[in-house]
Assembly symmetry: C2
């Protein structure tokens, strides 16, 4: 690989972007390399229409992946939560074939200069961003996210998180020089001198198991971290959300091929519903890295069974809020209303358990008991979601029947104070939209109810004995069952400190007194860590050094340095 | 914790040392913070005698650890391989008690500023270095290492490796700021501004399981990495090598107490022979990090069973040398003779399998067949070890009867061309000294013999079909069984390249054409990586970022930034 090759060109082209990304991750101020605004003033007049046309042109077709392994096609039967059948077919490839192809393709990639690998990854992301309107359509029509959210979370923010992973993976490989001279003085004679070479080598085939609700956002960190650290990657999308990752894989393959590498360094392992190839892929002896987002059950299974691999999981948890006091009760209600409504609570970060002392918590509108607070929250939800356009734009559509069943079950609980109700989508009659359900529970009596995750638009206002008791429940339940997010509302420094201590004990990130335009379920790449390995909900954070260091090894060779050459030699 | 406290003083005192250590690890030139020369010109006229007296004063006594948990004492019955019974008794503490005490002591330590933790760790190492002659005596009389080697490997080099781990652990926690302001421009109005706090939090109780042959060198990296990343540590020494780690634990506790922390952040869990507490400790729910050096069998058991913990193991392997050609045959023999003799091959890095093409390899003294090479190696060993003083100073003593049995078994193999022979120690009649055994094997017929580790002074010259076949055997056996070291002798760039490729495939570090004063079984802290996670012999390297990142988590909290204050407010 010489400086003239396209691979090196991508690095030169994106060097500044990569340096900026590394600096941003270290500074943790706001920095967003990819613009989150789906605006023609940013992306051009034609971008929205071209994206939609590009998406429509894929429907009902075989998805083209030149040079991809496989025999025939597989049709996962993706159907949009908004009613549109996608009917796209993908190359059919067995787990063994996918892994063997990726492994064989990566012989050179494994030891390629990390600069070259990072440059290629950055180019892939830049091209994905150029295609963001089409990818947003694909995310919108596989997840049920409203279009703007699909554009942001599934497009720009996913790309930000991807570049963040590239930055960490690249920087971590640059911690040691590629070569060094070691010169040790000796008591007699000249120094002992050795030349040493250090090579960052990928660990083996990486597997990325995608999820239905955030196919790109949750897949990009693992995909790009594995790729940049020298690993080939098999991408196994959720059968109901293949298209966003198929577009991603195609772009990756195009850039790899242009850079002179085998495109099979990135392979798509689409499957039909019910095939359940993830287990076979994850336990394949040549798969050495697994990134998974999804259920606790399968995540735990992977951690226990994919023993030949480093396993990074993001599973479910009990996102918790402790309410002790506020001087902006309307702000609390406004903030929580949006947090609970966004994408119908189908985020791994949506708050579920809201802990309030039985005697109530102090607000600028007087003391609010759990029942009063639950009623106010229900009323605020009704007011916010009363406008059909805003409701559709915020709630999106329910991604599947399981979520619908769960929210109906919650609405039938004895404590249900704000049952879910259907909302008609102004444009898509096929979409299933439901407002969040809120139930009032008791910390002691209803423990079995709130200590499991109710993925979807379900939240509980839970009456505790006191704020101290709330913090105990928070600490204990999150330590035992995990959480991706936590929040506290408190006005006294003592309670804020106690909440911080409890969050450190529980191993979860904490948001304090959010009443404005920042929401507990959102995290900003390059500034907020998403998840932690310190509680059972995940084994890693997006993204920190621990997320990348296990994906490669530095191997060294050493030899006596050549004798010093004289100028006249 | 303020700047006036002793804890902060240690950081200020050692700031320059820590910065230098971080820079050295990144540069990988020679740097040794602790002097390896057991010389009075370095350590002072009185140091050797004071060290020996200090050691003798410990014998036959209860080892004092003020404030340490436990009820009564345990007597592991340490007996020096040189004949001296140590008869030291240590606090008797159950696994549950050790873990509970360490956990309770670490409540503050867990979130203490990484600067403070690193300063304390540096102070501990500096004090261990001031006590190096006594520690060397303790290592000498528990491992059987000759005194100079015990001083170097068990003293100065162990301290170097300890500081290396401190440097990585400290630097990795400094990757992110303790606090940051996030300010995101909005389309309308002022920016959204959040203040964020980032806290590096220890994962839980760390357990260090020591080994008999390198009690300090192999324990210090894990001990100091866990400590500096905010974890309390339970040190469980090998029952035959407790004293070196007891001295280490005592020094750590003294420094912690002086710095205002609970000394029980570091606890000694000595045990009687046969107690086998390691399994109970390693699977304790509060133990979240395990560092182990020892047998493949128990290492594999830990990896499979200590599922609640991050497990770092260094086990056994098949250290391999491929001989293809040399222009310095005498240099090869001289270098290998020392490598095989040093500490009677009782190093995890001693070469075992020497692969030579059946038709021989080219040297400046003509082609040497495997049989000729094995005979020459045997003769070189006899010549080198013919001097009793040099033999005693190089071989040290056999650490236990298992090693003796193994070398006798190897000497009885049909292919044994250089059986072991006893050597009398000039001073210690009780010491068991044996020269290395060399046997000639066939790559095909004798596979079961050379694909297991023969820990001790046992090496095999193995006849292969060709150098290409040697490289295949190297690649396959090391991939399957692991290795800590590998080497090649070759004169053509093609063969060197092929060997480098094979080493990258096998996931092992490679030494090339060592004929001078550097030996394959030695690694220099801050320059050479010891071990890799890329083959079965170990799950980590000493030391790289992957060795430290799993020991802590960065937890964040965030809140709206206070409104801008006006100057006239």
């Amino acid at each position: 690989m010489t400086a003239e090759t396209p691979a090196a060109d991508f690095f030169a082209r994106h060097r500044e972007l990569l340096d900026r990304a590394v600096a941003a991750a270290a500074e943790r101020d706001h920095w967003a390399p990819f613009n989150e605004s789906p605006s023609t003033s940013v992306y051009g007049e034609e971008a929205p229409a071209r994206g939609e046309e590009g998406f429509r042109a894929l429907l009902g077709q075989d998805f083209a992946l030149p040079g991809h392994p496989g025999d025939g096609t597989v049709a996962p039967r993706e159907v949009s939560p908004y009613g549109l059948p996608l009917d796209v077919a993908y190359p059919k490839v067995t787990p063994d074939e996918a892994v063997a192809t990726a492994k064989a393709a990566a012989r050179v990639w494994r030891t390629t200069d990390p600069d070259v690998r990072a440059g290629i990854a950055a180019e892939i992301l830049v091209r994905l961003n150029a295609d963001v309107f089409r990818i947003a359509q694909a995310v919108h029509h596989t997840t049920g996210q409203a279009f703007v959210m699909a554009f942001q979370a599934g497009g720009a923010h996913a790309q930000d998180r991807g570049l963040e992973a590239v930055a960490y993976a690249w920087a971590e490989q640059k911690r040691h020089p590629a070569a060094a001279r070691w010169s040790k003085p000796q008591r007699r004679g000249g120094p002992l001198t050795m030349d040493k070479t250090f090579t960052a080598v990928g660990r083996g085939v990486g597997l990325v198991v995608g999820c239905n609700t955030f196919p790109t956002w949750n897949a990009y960190p693992g995909l790009f971290a594995s790729l940049v650290t020298g690993n080939p990657v098999v991408v196994k999308p959720h059968p109901r959300a293949v298209l966003p990752l198929a577009l991603t894989v195609r772009t990756a393959r195009e850039v790899l091929a242009e850079a002179g590498f085998d495109p099979n360094i990135v392979v798509l392992a689409a499957e039909a519903p019910g095939e359940r190839n993830a287990a076979a892929l994850a336990t394949h002896p040549d798969v050495r890295i697994v990134d998974f987002t999804g259920s606790t059950e399968f995540g735990d299974w992977l951690e226990a069974n994919a023993r030949q691999a480093h396993v990074y999981t993001e599973k479910a948890g009990l996102n918790t809020i402790v309410l002790d006091a506020t001087d902006d009760y309307r702000g609390v209600l406004r903030n929580l209303t949006f947090s609970l409504s966004l994408y119908s609570g189908q985020m791994c970060t949506t708050p579920q358990n809201l802990l309030v002392a039985r005697d109530g918590f102090a607000t600028d509108e007087g003391v609010k008991t759990p029942a009063e607070f639950a009623a106010d929250l229900g009323a605020a939800l009704d007011a916010f979601l009363g406008d059909p356009g805003r409701a559709a734009g915020t709630l999106g559509a329910l991604v599947n029947d399981d979520v619908l069943k769960r929210v109906e079950e919650a609405s039938a609980l004895p404590g249900a104070v704000h049952p879910t109700r259907p909302v008609a989508h102004p444009e898509h009659s096929g979409a299933v939209l439901r407002t969040p359900a809120v139930a009032l529970l008791d910390a002691a009596a209803d423990r079995p109810v709130y200590t499991r995750e109710w993925f979807g638009p379900v939240s509980f206002v839970i009456a505790t004995d006191s704020t101290a008791h709330s913090l105990d429940v928070f600490r204990e339940t999150v330590s035992a069952h995990g959480a991706l997010t936590a929040a506290v509302y408190a006005t006294s420094p003592e309670v804020v400190d106690a909440a911080r201590d409890a969050a450190l004990d529980a191993g979860v990130h904490l948001s304090e007194n959010l009443t404005g335009g920042v929401f507990v379920n959102q995290s900003a790449a390059f500034s907020d860590f998403h998840g932690t390995s310190a509680n059972p909900a995940a084994t890693a954070a997006l993204t920190d050094p621990a997320f990348v260091t296990g994906r490669f090894t530095v191997l060294q060779s050493r030899r006596h340095a050549p004798a010093v050459e004289h100028a006249d030699a």
